[in-house]
C-alpha cells in the first residue's frame, strides 16, 4: 500500500508534459537554464520504480530531445522498462522514446525483442501498430530475424489497419534480414489482388523502394505491376507503379513498348496534375525512345509551362531538362518560355531555365546567348550571377572548347566576366585563360591584350575574388610577351605599388612575369644592335606589329625601374616573393654595369648578352597542356627504392614503428629515421636483394612491360645522356603528340576568320567542371544478397503458382516465364473481360477512400 501511495505522491507533484510546455513558454530564465533544470528533474523522476512517474519523465525527455536537441540515449533502459507496462499510455510513450532514440549503438536493443513480440501478438490492434512502427524504424538484423514469424502472421491479418502496417514493415525486415524474403514474399505479393486501395498502395510502395535499390530482382513481377497500372484508378498507387516502371524500363527496354500506351492513356485522361507529372517524368526518363509518348509528354510539359502556378512551371522546366539531351527539339520549341523564366522571381525556376538555356548552346548561337546571359548576370543577385557565369564557362569549355569558333571573342568575354561586380568564379576563369594560352596559339595576341587591360587597372587589385584572374593575366603577359604592344607598360603594371595588395603567391607570379618581360626586352635590344639597320618588326614573331623601338635609353630606364621597385622586396618576409625578387635583381646585377656603360654591344661575347641569351633560352620553351595521366606514364626512376629500406627499418625499430595508427612514436622521430635510411641503390642490388615482396616486383615488371619505352635503360653503363634522353620522350611531346584538332570551314558565310587550332589531348583531358548530376542517375547501393533472395523467392512463387493452376485455381493463365508473353496474356484476358463486361478483380476506385482526384489543381 505504501508503495502505491508514494507513487501517488510522486505522480501528483510531477510535472507532466503539458506543464513542461507551459512552463517553457512562461519562463523568464533563459531557455538553456530552463532545459537543464527540467533535465535534472527528469533524471530524478525517471529512476522511480513507479511506472507512471517513469513514463511521464520519459515523455518529457522525448519532447526535449526532439525539439530542443537534448540527448536521450542514456535513458534507453528506462524506455525498455516503460514499454513493458501493460497500460497503453505507458506503452505508447515507451515506444515513442525507443523509436526516436534507439540505433545500432544502443546496447539494450536486445532487451526489447520479447516485448515487441508480445505486442505484435496482442489482440489490441493499436498495440500491434506501435510495435510495428518501432520495428520499421529501428529494426536491426537480430530483431528482424527474431520477429519474422510474427510479421508473417500479421501479413494475413484480417484487419486492414494492421495489414497495411505489416506490409510497410516488410521493407525494413527484408533490408535487415534477407532470409525473411523467403518467408514473407508470397504473402506480400498476394496483396496485389487486394481490393483495398490502402493495402495495394502499401504493397506498391514497398516494391517501389525495392525496385529503386535493385530493379533487376523486381523485373519478374512486371505483369503484376502492369495489371495495376492498367486497372487502378487510385493516383497514389499509379504514381508508385509508374516509378517502378521507370526503373524497370531502363533495364528492360521491351517493357517500355508495353507500358507506353497505358501511360499515355493515363496522361490523356487524368485531371490530377501529380499523375500527369509522374507519367511525363517516366516517359522522358525511361521511355525516351518512344516518339509518340515523348510527343505527348512534351505537349503536357508545355501545358505546365504556361500555367501561372509556379510549382507547375518549375516542374515543367525540370522535366524539360530531363528530356533535353535526347530531344533538343522539345527545348527549342519552348525557347521563349525559357527565356522568360530567366527573369522569374523564383530562384528555382531561374536556375532550371538557365540550365535549359545552356543545353541549347551550340557554336552558332554561343556568342548571342552569352551576350544575353552576361546582361542577365549584371542585373542579377550574386548567387544567380555566379551560376550564370559557371554555366557559361562550363558549356564553352566542354570538350576542349568545342563550341568556340572565335577565340578572340571568347577571350574578351572572359575578361568581361572579370569585370562583373559579383563574379566569384575567379579560379575557373584563371584556369581557362591559361589553358587557352597553352592550347590555342592564335588566340595568344588577344589574350595578351585582354590581360594587359586587366593588369593596368588598379581597382581590380583590391577585389579578392579576382586575384586568380590577375594571376593568370600576369602569367600570360609574361609568357607571351612577344605579342605585347608595349612591354614597358606591362612591366609598370606588374610592379605597380598596389600589387602589395596581392597575396604573396600571386605577387611571385607578377615578379616572375616581369622577369620574362625584361629578358625579352633585353634580348630584342641586343639582337637589334647586331643587325644594324633591320627593323625590329622582322625579328619579333607575328602579331606584335607596333612595338616600340628598343633604344638604349628605354632599356636603361626599364632596368632602373625594375631595380627600384623590386629593391624593397628583397627584404620581404615571404620567401617566395623574396626569392623571385632576388632572382631578378641578381640578373640585373650581372648586366647593369655593361648596359649603363653602353659597352660595345655588338660584341656578342659581352657577359650581359650571354646571360640574356641564356635566360631567353630558358624562357623559350613552350608550355603545352599536360595530360592528367602523364604522371603515370613517367616510369619509376632508376634506382629509387620503395620497399627495400623499409624492410631494414623494420628490423631496427620494429617494436615502435607500427602501422600508421600508432601514436607512441612522435612524428619527427619517424621522419628522421626514414631520411637517414634512405639510400638510392643500384638496380643490380635491388634485384638480387634478400626478399623484395613478390607483389611489388611483379607489378613493377608488368608496368615495365607495358610502358617499357618510358623506363630508363637498366644497364648501368649508361652515362651517355643522349641515349637515355632519346628513350625518354619529353613531357611536352607526350602531351602534344596526339590529335591536333582539324579545323572545318564554317557553314556560316559571314564567319570570315577560320577557327584556330586547338590542342587536344587524346586521353587524360579531364574536364574540370563536372556537370551537375541529374536526378535520374541511380546511386543506391546494390545489395547483392537481398536481390538474390528476392529472385529466389520469385522462383519459388512461380512454381507455387503452377501448382495452383493444376489444382484448378481460377487464376488467369499467366504461367509462362517470359514476362512479355505474360503481359500479352493479360492483355488478351483483359480484352475478353472487357467484352464480357466483367469487372476486374477490383482495384476500382469506387471503393477508393482517398481523395486524390481533387489534388493539386
Amino acid at each position: 500500500m505504501s508503495s502505491s501511495s508514494t507513487s501517488i505522491m510522486d505522480n501528483l507533484f510531477q510535472r507532466s508534459l503539458e506543464d513542461l510546455i507551459k512552463g517553457f513558454r512562461l519562463q523568464l530564465l533563459g531557455e538553456s537554464n530552463f532545459i537543464s533544470r527540467a533535465l535534472e528533474e527528469i533524471r530524478r523522476e525517471i529512476k522511480s520504480t513507479d511506472l507512471s512517474t517513469k513514463s511521464t519523465a520519459l515523455h518529457k525527455l522525448s519532447y526535449l530531445a526532439a525539439l530542443h536537441g537534448v540527448d536521450m540515449s542514456w535513458a534507453a533502459f528506462h524506455a525498455v522498462e516503460v514499454v513493458s507496462s501493460s497500460r497503453f499510455q505507458h506503452k505508447r510513450i515507451g515506444y515513442q522514446a525507443i523509436t526516436q532514440s534507439f540505433n545500432d549503438q544502443t546496447s539494450v536493443m536486445l532487451l526489447i525483442t520479447n516485448q515487441v513480440r508480445k505486442d505484435l501478438n496482442s489482440a489490441n490492434e493499436y498495440e500491434v501498430s506501435l510495435a510495428l512502427e518501432c520495428l520499421s524504424r529501428i529494426g536491426t538484423h537480430d530483431l528482424a530475424r527474431d520477429l519474422t514469424p510474427e510479421v508473417f502472421t500479421l501479413l494475413a491479418s484480417s484487419k486492414s489497419f494492421v495489414k497495411k502496417k505489416a506490409i510497410g514493415v516488410v521493407l525494413r525486415v527484408f533490408e535487415k534480414y534477407h532470409d525473411a524474403v523467403n518467408v514473407c514474399f508470397k504473402r506480400l505479393v498476394e496483396n496485389f489482388e487486394s481490393s483495398n486501395p490502402q493495402i495495394l498502395s502499401a504493397v506498391v510502395g514497398v516494391f517501389c523502394e525495392l525496385a529503386t535499390k535493385d530493379p533487376q530482382s523486381c523485373l519478374p513481377l512486371a505483369p503484376e505491376f502492369y495489371k495495376v497500372l492498367v486497372d487502378s484508378r487510385n493516383n497514389w498507387v499509379l504514381i508508385k507503379v509508374l516509378k517502378i516502371f521507370a526503373k524497370l524500363a531502363s533495364i528492360e527496354p521491351r517493357l517500355g513498348k508495353k507500358v507506353a500506351e497505358p501511360i499515355c492513356e493515363h496522361m490523356r485522361r487524368t485531371v490530377a496534375k501529380s499523375l500527369v507529372f509522374e507519367c511525363v517524368r517516366t516517359v522522358v526518363s525511361s521511355l525516351s525512345d518512344h516518339e509518340a509518348a515523348v510527343k505527348l509528354a512534351v505537349a503536357k510539359i508545355r501545358e505546365f509551362l504556361v500555367e501561372d502556378d509556379p510549382n507547375l512551371k518549375y516542374l515543367g522546366l525540370n522535366a524539360l531538362s530531363i528530356v533535353a539531351p535526347k530531344h533538343l527539339w522539345a527545348v527549342l520549341e519552348n525557347k521563349e518560355v525559357i527565356v522568360k523564366a530567366m527573369s522569374d522571381e523564383d530562384p528555382n525556376v531561374k536556375l532550371e531555365a538557365l540550365h535549359l538555356l545552356m543545353e541549347m548552346v551550340n557554336e552558332d548561337n554561343v556568342s548571342e546567348i552569352s551576350r544575353i546571359l552576361m546582361n542577365y548576370a549584371l542585373k542579377s543577385d550574386p548567387l544567380f550571377c555566379n551560376e550564370i557565369i559557371f554555366f557559361v564557362l562550363s558549356a564553352c569549355s566542354r570538350n576542349a572548347y568545342e563550341i568556340i569558333v572565335d577565340f578572340d571573342w571568347y577571350v574578351s568575354l572572359l575578361g568581361e566576366m572579370a569585370r562583373i561586380p559579383h563574379c566569384q568564379r575567379g579560379e575557373e576563369i584563371e584556369h581557362q585563360l591559361i589553358d587557352i594560352g597553352m592550347r590555342v596559339r592564335d588566340a595568344r595576341p588577344q589574350l595578351v591584350r585582354v590581360s594587359w587591360a586587366l593588369l593596368i587597372d588598379p581597382a581590380l587589385l583590391s577585389n579578392l575574388f579576382l586575384h586568380p584572374i590577375l594571376s593568370a593575366a600576369a602569367w600570360v603577359s609574361g609568357e607571351y610577351v612577344e605579342f605585347s604592344k608595349n612591354p614597358y607598360e606591362t612591366v609598370e603594371a606588374l610592379l605597380q605599388p598596389r600589387t602589395g595588395l596581392l597575396p604573396p603567391s600571386i605577387r611571385a607570379v607578377y615578379i616572375h612575369s616581369a622577369f620574362k618581360v625584361l629578358v625579352f626586352c633585353l634580348g630584342s635590344y641586343f639582337s637589334s644592335q647586331e643587325t644594324t639597320s633591320s627593323s625590329l618588326a622582322q625579328e619579333s614573331s607575328s602579331g606584335s606589329s607596333s612595338m616600340n623601338a628598343f633604344t638604349h635609353g628605354s632599356i636603361l630606364n626599364l632596368v632602373n625601374v625594375i631595380e627600384r621597385d623590386l629593391g624593397p622586396l628583397s627584404e620581404t618576409h615571404n620567401v617566395e616573393v623574396q626569392e623571385r625578387a632576388k632572382n631578378v635583381l641578381g640578373f640585373i646585377g650581372m648586366i647593369k654595369q655593361e648596359i649603363a656603360e653602353k659597352l660595345d654591344l655588338q660584341d656578342n661575347e659581352t657577359e650581359s648578352s650571354r646571360v640574356t641569351a641564356f635566360m631567353e633560352d630558358v624562357f623559350s620553351e613552350e608550355f603545352g597542356p599536360v595530360s592528367a595521366t602523364a604522371q603515370e606514364k613517367a616510369g619509376v626512376p632508376d634506382g629509387l627504392e620503395l620497399k627495400e629500406n623499409l624492410v631494414d627499418l623494420e628490423e631496427i625499430c620494429g617494436e615502435f614503428l607500427k602501422p600508421v595508427e600508432s601514436e607512441s612514436v612522435s612524428y619527427t622521430d619517424k621522419i628522421s629515421f626514414s631520411i637517414s635510411k634512405l639510400r638510392i641503390r643500384d638496380q643490380q642490388e635491388a634485384s638480387s636483394s634478400s626478399s623484395p615482396p613478390d607483389e611489388a616486383s611483379s607489378l613493377l615488371a608488368e608496368h615495365r612491360k607495358r610502358h617499357g619505352m618510358f623506363y630508363l635503360t637498366s644497364q648501368k653503363e649508361d652515362p651517355d645522356s643522349n641515349s637515355t634522353h632519346s628513350d625518354y620522350p619529353l613531357a611536352n611531346e607526350l602531351a602534344n603528340e596526339i590529335s591536333q584538332d582539324p579545323f572545318n570551314p564554317k557553314r556560316k558565310p559571314n564567319q570570315s576568320k577560320p577557327r584556330p587550332v586547338v590542342v587536344k589531348l587524346d586521353d587524360g583531358d579531364e574536364s574540370r567542371i563536372t556537370p551537375q548530376a541529374k536526378k535520374n542517375i541511380q546511386t543506391a547501393k546494390d545489395d547483392e544478397s537481398l536481390s538474390l533472395a528476392i529472385q529466389s523467392a520469385l522462383l519459388v512463387k512461380n512454381k507455387g503458382k503452377e501448382k495452383d493452376r493444376y489444382e484448378g485455381n481460377p487464376n488467369s493463365g499467366q504461367q509462362e516465364k517470359e514476362e512479355s508473353s505474360r503481359i500479352e496474356n493479360h492483355q488478351n484476358s483483359e480484352n475478353k473481360k472487357k467484352k464480357k463486361k466483367k469487372k476486374k478483380n477490383g482495384e476500382s476506385s469506387k471503393h477508393n477512400c482517398t481523395n486524390h482526384d481533387g489534388e493539386m489543381k
Binding site: H68, M72, R87, L315
Partner: protein, 166 residues
C-alpha cells in the same frame, strides 16, 4: 521514402521534428536550423520545392507550405512525387484541422502527443500509408480513448484495477 517531417514556426522554433533515418540530436538541430535558414529567405508566390542536397544528401527534395505562422516541411527522396507530397501536407493540415477544429499553432504546441499520433498514422516508417483524413481521425480517436481508459485507473490501487480489467 520520406526522410523527415518538420513543423517550424516563422521564428525558426520547431514544433514538430521527426526524422525517419536515425541521426544524433545535434545533427537534427543542425538540419532544422539549416532548413529554416533556407525557408525564411524564400519570397512569397514562388514554388514550394527546394533542393537541399547539401543538407540531406543527394537527390533529396524538400516541399514546404506556409500556413499562417507555421512552415510545414516534408523532406523526401526520389521515390516520392513532388506534387503528391504537396498534397500530403494538405492532408496532414486538414486532418489536424478536423482534430482540433480550426487548428492554430498553439494547438500544435500543446498537443504534442496527439500530433504525433496523427502523423504516425499517415507516415509509417518513412512510407505514406494513409491518405484519408477520416481514417486517420478514426484511429487517433481510438488511441485517445485507449489512453484515457488506461489513465482512469491510475489513482486506483492495484487490486481494484485488477478487478476492472484492462
Amino acid at each position: 521514402m520520406i526522410k523527415a517531417v518538420m513543423m517550424l514556426n516563422t521564428q525558426g522554433k520547431p514544433r514538430l521534428a521527426k526524422f525517419y533515418d536515425y541521426m544524433p540530436v545535434e545533427k537534427q538541430q543542425e538540419l532544422i536550423r539549416g532548413v529554416f535558414s533556407v525557408l525564411c529567405s524564400r519570397p512569397e508566390n514562388v514554388s514550394n520545392f527546394l533542393e537541399i542536397d547539401s543538407l540531406f544528401g543527394p537527390f533529396s527534395r524538400l516541399v514546404y507550405k506556409h500556413y499562417a505562422t507555421l512552415y510545414f516541411v516534408l523532406v523526401f527522396d526520389g521515390s516520392e512525387n513532388e506534387l503528391a507530397m504537396l498534397d500530403l501536407i494538405q492532408v496532414l493540415v486538414e486532418t489536424l484541422d478536423k482534430c482540433f477544429s480550426n487548428v492554430c499553432e498553439l494547438d500544435i504546441v500543446f498537443n504534442y502527443s496527439k500530433m504525433h499520433a496523427v502523423l504516425d498514422e499517415i507516415v509509417f516508417g518513412g512510407q505514406v500509408l494513409e491518405t484519408s483524413s477520416a481514417e486517420v481521425i478514426k484511429a487517433v480517436e481510438e488511441i485517445s480513448k485507449l489512453e484515457a481508459a488506461s489513465n482512469s485507473i491510475s489513482l486506483v490501487p492495484k487490486s481494484v484495477s485488477g478487478w476492472r480489467g484492462r
